[in-house]
Symmetry: C2
Amino acid sequence: MAVGPGLQDTLLPVAGVRIGTASAGIRKKNRRDLVVFELAAGSNVAAVFTTNRFCAAPVQVAREHLRQGAPRYLLVNTGNANAGTGTSGLANARRSCDAVAALTKVTAQQVLPFSTGVIGEPLPVDRIEAGLPAALQALEADAWTLAAEGIMTTDTRPKGACRQIVVNGKTVTITGISKGAGMIKPNMATMLGFVATDAVVDASLLQELLRETTESSFNAITIDGDTSTNDACVLVATGQSGASVSREQGLDSFRQALHDVLVSIAQQIVRDGEGATKFVSVQVSGGKTVAECRQAAFTVAESPLVKTALFASDPNWGRILAALGRAGIDDLDVTGVNVHLNGVLIAERGGRAASYTEEAGVAAMKPEEIVIAIDLGRGQQQATVWTCDFSYDYVKINAEYRS
Amino acid sequence: MAVGPGLQDTLLPVAGVRIGTASAGIRKKNRRDLVVFELAAGSNVAAVFTTNRFCAAPVQVAREHLRQGAPRYLLVNTGNANAGTGTSGLANARRSCDAVAALTKVTAQQVLPFSTGVIGEPLPVDRIEAGLPAALQALEADAWTLAAEGIMTTDTRPKGACRQIVVNGKTVTITGISKGAGMIKPNMATMLGFVATDAVVDASLLQELLRETTESSFNAITIDGDTSTNDACVLVATGQSGASVSREQGLDSFRQALHDVLVSIAQQIVRDGEGATKFVSVQVSGGKTVAECRQAAFTVAESPLVKTALFASDPNWGRILAALGRAGIDDLDVTGVNVHLNGVLIAERGGRAASYTEEAGVAAMKPEEIVIAIDLGRGQQQATVWTCDFSYDYVKINAEYRS
């Protein structure tokens, strides 16, 4: 059901990062469901987390550990989100970090835990403990694709991207993976994303770069408007390439490459959205502020009526206007609004375009990739949001997820 | 697919209101799609309309005519919403009022137009003109059920309610009808509702009563979060019973009866929501303000993940917590939150309830009628929202609507 390209890049190793995976039987047997990232000493780690007030136990523990010291291990399990699990959930998240610490030479505070899967069920931490030795034994540099597979839940394919740039004569690698595919609505960060580079980047610049680039990548996608309890994106800089990125050197090209990686793995999540048959870019321009452009774009992108029309390849563009009309822009003058659908002008000055024909609309809706370009006609700002359509399979996947 | 009871009351005539219907072939042949209400001279008319910025041409014209004088006719067509149709849409809405005026002895300003159906297509006003004589010829007092059928779009059954009370020794009748069934999200008013009473109620009190009672009826339901461009609810008081309702007399019982009618026809819309297999009450208590209770209730009621779990009768209550966590209550202390599902405590203090068993959860989810009771544990306010689940048929209906 996924739309268009998935993982296309070769996921190159990042010096200073080794990855081990195992099948721990957390929810299903014989499925890669445990992933450990080992980070070289001296690595800097930045992270952004969900804004959901019911944030999961691992999110709380990861935040706390991140404040306390230099992380050396990221521990990721799929199959169970350890969310809505109260104090025992927190204890289980801590116990899983203890288990990593006991098997390595680090403190529990140097381990960041991440969980994804069903909410509200106790984390089978004994299975994680039992699976850890195999995962640690498997540690190797060239295992990013295995890791991308190991963090999947309802994803139908692994997601990753890789870029290399040259900074001061030295090659810098940025490799990242992510997972979706439901409960996806941007808010600060989203789902799970793990990105690493061998560049030398100081901790505060690293955090700033992550915040900045997630805003127009992970935070610009939506599948169903449901912000997960476990969203997290981590950016590691190991420094092992010896190439230093700073405000004085290499910043622009590094930011661009990082942004490319994040946009790619964010878009791959949408392309593999639950039940997706279309990849949709909602581009809103002509707004007074970026915020109102984003608001309009998200309202259109999340409208069930727009999404089902997209699924049907039905140029029912009136639903786009209706969604815009309830987007909360109180003083929106609808007579200034123009809408293009894959290049075809369908609405002008807030009404059906004079040049519009049903045939042109139907033809514009046929491709798997749809661009809805909306001009609010009231300013110079713009924003883009990526989403997918709403199909029978979205209902099927989410109605049967636990069975 | 509708859930539980539909129209159960006998829809008694309201003295001073006559109704005529016709099949004008607006979108489909041989379907009752034109409804005219004739209101006795001296009737007071209150109305609330959609807040969608892309409000339809008939909404704009009805608002304008309402300001100009005493309405004598309500003209309703289904099959075409005359929304997103720009200036020609406005002209068509006016032309349809002119047609009524030409056939009766009133001015065009005394006609309020209402349209529902597909957005963005030109209103076939010639068909309305051609159908009007038959509708006017058919005018009779006892035709509320026919009218309820005549305003249906994707509704599977007509919706209506009726109450009688005694004011000062005289019998007062309140009869109302409504239509859904998609693009339903409360905001000021919702979809189409027509309610009439033979009580004597002055115009300002009538408007106040309508605003007040729609807040906890029409404005407390949601099917898909999509606020329609055409939402309107009209309340007519003909005064023909001679029973006067005022701040001094009969107000409480009249308000209660009116509220009952509005809640009934609002709930009937949800029960017949597109693809609905469950009728769900989301009751949020323990909030600091009514607004935050409503916000929490709507976020849960509109979460696609909650709605698909409801469809599956899956007690995936973690999705309820996750939705609450993103409801925008920034200082929500999740450890104060308790959730009951049809009386079964599923979450306490923000985590899985100690007493909860999967068996109890599964049993609680089986009925067609589900109550999700959420205690925010931080105040004394409460709010209730009604919604339905999200099924394959929602997608089917909305993907195929125009075909």
